[in-house]
């Protein structure tokens, strides 16, 4: 894993943060676990990625060129765009323990955001309580985020199949009165 930060927090609140990526288009995948070190190390799931103009009153326009032609003919535009990610806070680490509850204070503004290593993902996702906090949230695409997060977490575990069963049980508890939705989630997680 690269030691360089991926992004920098530019807006922060109790349940989520917005961060500006260090490089254009270089983003952590949707649903991946990221961490923000600080007095408290916060963990969050990336739920939105957007690239737009730096200036609010300047919009990107279509040039009709391939990326290579654009780099050749209009090199300045890449300096005028930025990629931003939004991440949903799902836990934090304090005194060596990882807790799947909202951190007592949000990440500080201008903190760096790092991708989590395989070990960190494994340690954080060992318990699946975090799935519950993703429900009851209208701002994030809940089902898609759960699918992506569980699949990525499973890849980090030594026995992905076992992990999927564990996560499936948690989801079955959460969605016991919505069989269709549960079925749809399970089917897509297993793809």
């Amino acid at each position: 894993m690269s030691r360089l930060h991926l992004a920098e927090v530019v807006e922060s609140s109790t349940s989520e943060f917005l961060a500006q990526c260090r490089e254009l288009h270089v983003v952590p995948p949707f649903g991946s676990l990221v961490k923000v070190p600080g007095p408290i190390t916060a963990f969050a799931l990336v739920y939105d990625v957007a690239t737009r103009s730096i200036e609010p009153n300047r919009r990107a326009t279509a040039f009709g060129m391939t990326p290579e032609e654009l780099a050749e003919e209009q090199p300045q535009i890449f300096e005028l765009l930025r990629t931003e990610i939004k991440a949903f806070l799902i836990g934090y680490e304090a005194t060596g323990r990882v807790l799947q509850i909202l951190p007592p204070e949000p990440p500080r503004i201008h903190s760096f955001v790092y991708a989590c290593s395989r070990d960190e993902i494994k340690a954080f996702s060992a318990k699946t309580d975090f799935l519950r906090s993703l429900f009851n949230n209208s701002r994030v695409p809940v089902d898609e985020l759960i699918i992506a997060a569980v699949r990525l977490a499973a890849e980090a575990h030594d026995h992905p199949g076992q992990y999927l069963v564990q996560a499936g049980k948690e989801l079955a508890k959460l969605l016991r009165d919505d069989y269709d939705r549960l079925h749809s989630l399970m089917r897509r997680i297993a793809l």
Partner: protein, 389 residues
């Protein structure tokens, strides 16, 4: 408060009058095109007549003919284009403290190398007594918006030379563009002390550019200049030598060259040039240029597609450098939908919007209060911010 209903009648009248003159304008333009083609055939005699004449308007100096237009080659690769532009917060004595701010936009774009472009800006705050009360005509007087504007122009030119110097180190073709004229004619009205100071600063920038061998130009969009049209006035004058002060026709109703008024050089050349072509070199006869020395300014018109623009450059540019300059200006305008990308980005970097201005004064006020400095805006300014009924 502007009453638009009261305005409307005047707007209607204005448009109707414009419409009438537009019909007449077209006929005069066609006549002007015929005249310039005729004059181009014996431009040497026109050149001599211009040299002998005393006119009240600026006449283009001719050395390379009147209509020998050139088709431009494609811009080279690799290539660097540097440009600067500026913007300001003018001194305002109704504000919390008298000071002014110049913000320079600095651009270096590299084509065909993959190198990251430079898009940045640099603010400069002026607040000392010397800044606010310069010596003008041997006495100290308050700085005016006009002087702030001229100071900005000087800084733009010096910053352009710095950028050109850095870009030229790469060893491939580099050109420098600035926005607007290189002829500081507005200095003519100033006393010699301040005029010399500003002009020397500007000429130092041009001298530094000359040292770097980077061709530079002022790019003028929608030019209103009439230097070439005025050469046609000389051509059409029935007198052997024009002397406008003693014009024998002035007392009569019709001055022989009067029909040319209202025509511009750009209007003529937009019908004489094809996109991608530029005119021969002409010299400006502006009075201030007598103080430019080796940096005397020449100009050429260039058809960039949507319009004809004027490129002003110092006379030390070789013919090859002028061609390079114009071909890059054309390429830049194509990339920027009619206006050079480097210049529009320089403007974007430099621009200070209303909200920025407010934030600037807010920062200043906060800092002054923290330091315990008395801070107060004028009553006039307070009333402008909120008027009671």
């Amino acid at each position: 408060m502007l009453d638009l209903l009261k305005c409307k009648r005047q707007i209607n009248k204005m448009v109707a009058e414009r419409q009438d003159s537009a019909d007449d304008y077209h006929a005069r333009l066609v006549r002007g095109l015929g005249l310039i083609r005729e004059a181009a055939g014996n431009w040497q005699s026109l050149q001599a007549k211009i040299a002998a004449s005393r006119t009240t308007w600026l006449v283009a100096g001719l050395t390379d003919g009147l209509l020998n237009c050139t088709r431009l080659p494609a811009a080279p690769r690799p290539l660097a284009v540097v440009s600067t532009d500026g913007s300001q917060i003018f001194p305002d004595r109704h504000e919390i403290a008298t000071c002014y701010l110049l913000n320079l936009g600095l651009i270096a774009l590299y084509y065909g190398t993959g190198e990251r472009p430079l898009l940045s800006n640099e603010p400069h705050l002026y607040y000392t007594t010397e800044d606010l009360y310069p010596r003008v005509g041997n006495r100290q007087s308050s700085i005016t918006p006009e002087l702030v504007g001229l100071k900005r122009t000087v800084m733009e030119m010096q910053a352009l030379a710095d950028l050109a110097d850095k870009a030229a180190e790469r060893g491939y073709p580099t050109i420098a563009l600035s926005d607007g004229t290189l002829i500081l004619w507005s200095l003519e009205g100033f006393p010699s002390d301040i005029r010399d100071e500003l002009l020397q600063g500007f000429l130092q920038g041009l001298a530094a550019l000359r040292k770097t061998s980077v061709p530079c130009a002022g790019f003028i969009s929608q030019p209103g200049a009439t230097d070439v049209v005025n050469a046609l006035r000389v051509y059409s004058c029935p007198e052997a030598v024009c002397s406008c002060d003693r014009c024998p026709y002035a007392s009569e109703d019709i001055v022989p060259c009067e029909w040319l008024s209202g025509l511009t050089d750009a209007a003529l050349f937009s019908r004489l040039l094809q996109p991608g072509e530029f005119t021969p070199k002409y010299y400006s006869q502006s009075k201030i240029l007598s103080e430019y020395g080796e940096h005397r300014i020449a100009f050429r018109y260039l058809h960039v597609g949507p319009e004809v623009v004027r490129l002003e450059f110092p006379d030390w540019l070789t013919e090859e450098q002028q061609e390079l300059l114009a071909s890059v200006a054309l390429d830049q305008a194509n990339k920027g939908v009619g206006y050079p990308v480097a210049l529009s980005e320089a403007h974007e970097q430099a621009v200070i919007r209303g909200a920025d201005r407010q934030a600037f004064y807010q920062l200043l006020e906060d800092r002054m209060i923290k330091q315990g400095v008395k801070a107060q805006v004028s009553y006039k300014s307070l009333r402008k911010r909120g008027v009671f009924v």
